[in-house]
Symmetry: C2
DNA sequence: AATTTATCCCCCAATTTGGGTGACTTCCGA
DNA sequence: TCGGAAGTCACCCAAATTGGGGGATAAATT
């Protein structure tokens, strides 16, 4: 359960960050930690990617806004070639879409720059041990993304139908799933469209997703 | 940035846990913490729900496997009436589906029972401050759920088409989106079906979701 | 040179979809 | 107890979609 010496010794770290003050700050914080080796620091993604075969890092601290290739693209590129490299995003941005894009791209953690230096060290141990270090606000964002507003104007049954519709099912298939007649499904969908003021499956699903009903 | 005294004083806590040893253990751990008040403990959801109006907790520690109503149903019920109550799941289960069900139901945190007692206290402060306390393994599960296996047999263009199909778009609508002829979309979809060995939109999407391509 | 990818064209028939209208039951809140 | 949702099913209609068959061409990759 506790991290053994084997889990954490010799953790090879690279830093990709265009602001040299922050870059060196992180290096300062990390380089004297036992088990950590700051292999190299880079001011852009391209440089890192050219050297990653040689650097063989376990963990990369990655900024998002970078000259040239941005952090998201960078993560995609890194993960494509070396899926085992752990990327922790370290940025000032807490924008929803950026967070999700980074996680989808393969980031294993997401920290905001206003954290105490201790948190950075912890985060690296955490990701090596199979965790996913996140700032509190980011964790909340991520967890909230699972939760749906259930304040839709649709009835329970209508929501059921809408969710099945979202799976790409046809009316007949939905009917079989919920053990009613195809005509009933049609009626539900007509009512859904009426309530949502839309006239097609596409628009209904777009609205429902925007409002986080599904 | 730092938690002020106003953020954390008088945190009202309820515990829902059927094992009385664990239930009392948690109570012991929490009751002497400054700012914490353990209002009540319950061995099942129903009892808690009957008292929550009176208890007015800020945080509920909730087990999943409970006699009668289970934890997931319990969370739904609590959140429906009092969306502001913070529910932290505390369980032995690390089953993927259970974690996601709990988060979808409205859990604001998810801890496994094998944590140090300190972690429980931290977690309560964390959720009050707008965070989402999770065990490391849970955080990893959650983050991993954003990441897609990009090892599908489909080409880039085919993936694009499949993703738009998953949004409920018609062939014509997809064609407009990617600036090609409807016939081209049809060809892509035929090729997708051939590669995936399916014969309908529903089956293609089901497979793609199962394999986490979309 | 062969394969994959991406683009487009034609034909065909069954199914799906969206809209209109109406009807019956049940259940809940005012 | 009355009215309104909610849920169920029916029938009509026309347009659109879908899935499957057969091609073709050009570019890129292997």
């Amino acid at each position: 359960m506790n991290p053994s010496i084997f889990d954490r010794h010799d953790i090879r770290i690279c830093i990709v960050e265009d602001d040299h003050v922050i870059r060196n700050g992180f290096k300062e914080i990390l380089q004297d930690v036992r088990d950590f080796q700051v292999i190299n620091t880079y001011s852009n993604c391209e440089d890192f990617i050219h050297h990653m075969e040689h650097d063989k890092p376990n963990v990369v601290l990655m900024d998002i806004e970078l000259p040239g290739m941005n952090g998201i693209e960078g993560i995609l590129c890194i993960k494509k070639k070396h899926p085992k490299i752990n990327v922790i995003v370290v940025t000032v941005y807490e924008n929803d879409q950026l967070v999700f894009d980074a996680l989808c791209a393969g980031a294993g953690g997401y920290l905001t720059k206003n954290m105490p230096p201790e948190r950075l060290k912890e985060a690296i141990f955490e990701i090596i041990q199979g965790g996913a270090p996140m700032s509190t606000s980011i964790a909340r964002l991520v967890v909230a993304s699972f939760q749906r507003n259930q304040t839709s104007p649709l009835s329970k049954r209508e929501m059921e139908v809408l969710i099945l519709l979202a799976k790409g099912k046809s009316y007949s298939s939905i009917a079989e799933d919920i053990f009613v007649d195809k005509e009933t499904v049609r009626t539900h969908i007509k009512n859904i469209y009426f309530k949502l003021e839309v006239h097609s499956k596409e628009d209904a699903l777009k609205l429902a997703k925007k409002e986080k009903w599904i």
